[in-house]
């Protein structure tokens, strides 16, 4: 009896590695090099290789197009049972899925693996702007929304626009009165903020860190469930300021829907190892990313709920019909 128990335990401990060994693993970044998805692929798979979780380094492929849609369609229709493939994802993926931008594909057409870090939305103004707190900013915003241009790095309907609309809604503004100006990436939007062409920058914490440290911008609120470490330690969460808005830019992966069960479990295990490693904690810190770890079934539920929320929200805000 005891032997049987040991056998079962051993099988449980080593089962993962006995059943599946990755062969020529690949990570698809559904956009060009230098972006967020590219970072997710390269950073996470490098840690996996350094921890010897994969025998060879990952091949990272930048499969661009359609805001991630080209990669999504490719994985669903051509690589549906690939055991050695993971694909980088973020709320940019779920927003587009919710708005039906990936042609006929839905969030159910892939299997969601997990998230290993997160960036958080911020509300920033220029350092010499008259508003010192969220309350002051919102008061001015409500008094005359046409005078406050809000800029972000995504197109209308994208992440930065959605977080602005959520804030506006929490502040009691009509979605149509909110003046959103899209830029090609957060960097350009910050340049416009510093130039005085827009009044609010709605981006992510990692994007404004350098400016915050240099004192050129003032961050009025962080759209996170709790405060972030320095240099954001003194920045209140939006909830603290009275506007219950969170924007979690999780960074994670999906995998082909029919990936064999042992491979899926194997990749879940590697994410656990990455999360536990010191090197990952260091990379997160260097890139101004917060801790956020959620995998497997729990993550699947999270995604289902998020896509559903985004869909309702997009309808409510008039972004889709």
């Amino acid at each position: 009896m005891r032997q049987v128990v040991w056998g079962v335990l051993l099988a449980g401990v080593f089962g993962m590695s006995l059943a599946f060994t990755p062969k020529g693993p690949e990570c698809i970044a559904p956009a060009g090099a230098g972006g967020g998805w590219d970072f997710t692929c390269r950073a996470v798979t490098q840690v996996m290789f350094d921890l010897k979780l994969t025998p060879q380094p990952f091949k990272v492929t930048n499969l661009t197009g359609g805001g991630g849609g080209v990669a999504y369609a490719n994985v669903v229709s051509q690589r549906g049972d690939d055991a050695n493939l993971i694909v980088a994802a973020s709320p940019a993926t779920t927003v587009r899925l919710a708005q039906g931008q990936f042609s006929r594909f839905s969030e159910r057409d892939v299997r969601w693996l997990g998230a290993v870090a997160a960036d958080f939305g911020v509300v920033a103004v220029k350092a010499d702007a008259p508003w010192k707190t969220m309350q002051e900013l919102v008061a001015a915003w409500k008094a005359d929304p046409s005078k406050i241009a809000v800029g972000g790095g995504s197109a209308v309907g994208g992440q930065d626009h959605m977080k602005v609309l959520l804030l506006g809604r929490a502040a009691g503004l009509e979605p149509r009165s909110v003046k959103y100006v899209p830029f090609d990436g957060g960097g350009q939007a910050i340049t416009s903020l510093l130039g005085g062409f827009i009044q609010i920058f709605a981006g992510d914490a990692s994007e404004v860190r350098g400016q915050l440290e240099a004192g050129t911008v003032r961050v009025l609120a962080i759209l996170a469930p709790r405060r972030l470490p320095a240099p954001y330690a003194n920045v209140p969460t939006a909830k603290e300021t009275g506007y219950n808005v969170e924007w979690v830019v999780w960074r994670g992966f999906y995998v082909p829907k029919n990936m064999p069960a042992d491979a899926y479990d194997y990749w879940l295990g590697t994410l656990r190892q990455v999360e536990k490693s010191e090197s990952w904690a260091k990379i997160r810190e260097q890139n101004s990313l917060g801790q956020f770890f959620m995998i497997g079934a729990q993550f699947q539920v999270y995604i289902d709920r998020q896509v559903n929320d985004f869909r309702n929200l997009s309808k409510e805000l008039g972004l889709i019909k």
């Binding site: 849609g69 080209v70 350098g210 240099a214």
Partner: protein, 502 residues
């Protein structure tokens, strides 16, 4: 901080053997990337970012390597423009106009050499500018808002007449085609897809590179295939060095191209392509009827090649002084810096002097290296002209297709490129100029998005477009540039520099 002291420390970093090796490697790889059509500086830098991580390079070494690739590619971009009428980079499109004519007249050597000298002078001047004027210019650059960019794009379009060739109506049709292509994809201002026909691949718009390589490289190969003597040597190789007379003749164009390219390069989002277009036009308008532009004027090579190199230096300014990327390539470099633990921002000069000054010093070293690397290569490259057609043409096609595929891994791009190749072939047959298509494509998107941003910010008030001194200045320049050819041609006589005069 004392600049001399800081720069001395910078050279201390740049002259370490490992960093010298990396500058050399960056310049070499950059030159190759520049020479190969299809792979541009953006993709070149992007492909090598993982290497800097894998080698566990310190941040200053990584940025030295990546910057070397960036300005190295600007050097190499002219080579195939001149020799084969195929731009190696988008910023070398205008170089084809006079560069290829020179090659056909047996003056490929001087054309390549003037591109190398121009790049060297422009590169070095832009580093001096970066060092001395960086913070000042950065303040100027952030005052460029949507209205100013819109006016800048109008100024860009006013240069059209210089690219037009003989028939203005055909040039306008070409431009319109470019403008139409610029509207394909998701409209950022409304989130609505335009002209995508339900294809996900068109959602992000049409890649400039795909159009450029298709229109120029693929169609050039098709045109050459038609010629009856398949194995004939296309042109004589001629002299491979630059005469002193030619150098002196081009020097003022090089200097003007450097200054113009540098200033445009500093502006986030404008970039090397616009710099090369504008500087070419400036030369053509200054010399107008006195030059032989379009028929192999050496200044038509010197100016844009200087401008695109100076722009690469200028683009470093917003990156280093503000921590904001000024171009696609510097955006990738910024991402790499962040991952290496350097937070780019206004404090980089204080927090990471080794990175900033090491990079600046390495750019002096790199520019000198590139000149030494490229001048001897001229002799090698001109022999490309004597490579038999049956080998050269398939190779050019193969490299173009591989280059485009390597960037996006998207087979759809190859299809699109082929379609643009056929379109380019037809356009050549019916004598439509190709360069205006690219002008329309690159300026059209920026013009539209900035006009709409301006209108959104000003709540639809058109006077906002004329509300700043910079914007008004640019509108005046645009007007001047439209009228200049007519005015200048009254005062000056024709004066051309032909081969026999040298």
């Amino acid at each position: 901080m004392d600049i001399v002291h800081a720069l001395t420390n910078g050279f201390g970093v740049a002259l370490q053997p490992i960093n010298l090796l990396l500058v050399f490697l960056g310049c070499l790889v950059g030159t190759l990337i520049g020479v190969l059509p299809g792979i541009g500086p953006i993709s070149g830098v992007a492909l090598l970012v993982p290497l800097t991580f894998a080698l566990k390079l310190p941040p200053e070494s990584a940025i030295i390597l990546l910057a070397g690739i960036y300005y190295g590619a600007m050097y190499g971009g002219s080579t195939t423009s001149i020799l084969l009428n195929i731009p190696g980079e988008t910023s070398s499109v205008v170089t084809t106009l006079d560069g290829n004519q020179m090659a056909k007249q047996g003056r490929a050597g001087p054309a390549l050499a003037v591109a190398a000298w121009g790049s060297f002078i422009a590169g070095t001047l832009s580093v001096v500018g970066l060092m001395l004027l960086g913070p000042l210019l950065a303040k100027w650059a952030i005052r460029f808002g949507p209205a100013e960019y819109f006016a800048l794009m109008i100024f860009g379009f006013s240069t059209l007449s210089a690219l037009a060739g003989k028939n203005m109506a055909k040039a306008l049709i070409s431009t319109l085609l470019g403008l139409m292509l610029a509207t394909v994809g998701q409209d950022p201002q409304s989130g609505i897809s335009r002209y995508t026909f339900g294809l996900l691949q068109l959602e992000d718009g049409i890649d400039f590179l795909v159009v450029a390589i298709g229109l120029f490289a693929v169609s050039e190969v098709l045109v050459l295939l038609e010629e009856k003597t398949p194995n004939a040597v296309r042109t004589r190789v001629g002299r491979i060095y630059l005469s002193l007379k030619e150098f002196v003749f081009s020097l003022s164009s090089i200097l003007r191209g450097s200054v113009l390219g540098f200033l445009i390069g500093v502006l986030p989002g404008a970039g090397a392509s616009i710099a090369s277009f504008v500087s070419y036009t400036l030369e053509k308008q200054l010399h107008g009827a006195r030059g032989s532009f379009g028929q192999g004027d050496i200044r038509g090579v010197a100016a844009p090649e200087s401008a695109n190199n100076a722009a690469a230096g200028g683009a470093m300014i917003p990156l280093l002084t503000l921590g904001l990327p000024g171009s696609g390539t510097t955006a990738i470099m910024l991402g790499a810096l962040v991952s290496l633990g350097v937070t780019p921002g206004p404090q980089m000069f204080q927090q990471h002097p080794a990175v900033v000054w090491g990079l600046i010093a390495s750019m002096y070293v790199g520019n000198a290296m590139l000149l030494m690397l490229n001048l001897p290569l001229v002799g090698l490259f001109v022999r490309l002209l004597s490579v038999p057609r049956w080998f050269l043409l398939p190779s050019v096609l193969a490299v173009s297709f591989i280059g485009v595929y390597a960037v996006n891994n998207n087979p759809f791009d190859l299809l699109l490129m082929t379609i643009f190749g056929l379109m380019g072939y037809l356009m050549r047959k019916f004598d439509f100029p190709l360069a205006p298509v690219l002008l329309g494509l690159v300026l059209g998107y920026l013009m539209e998005i900035n006009l709409r941003r301006a209108m959104a910010i000003s709540n639809g008030d058109v006077s906002f477009l004329f509300s700043s001194p910079i914007a008004i200045g640019l509108w005046l320049l645009a007007g001047l540039s439209l009228l200049a050819p007519a005015i200048l041609s009254r005062f000056v006589k024709r004066e051309a520099l032909g081969d026999d005069e040298i």
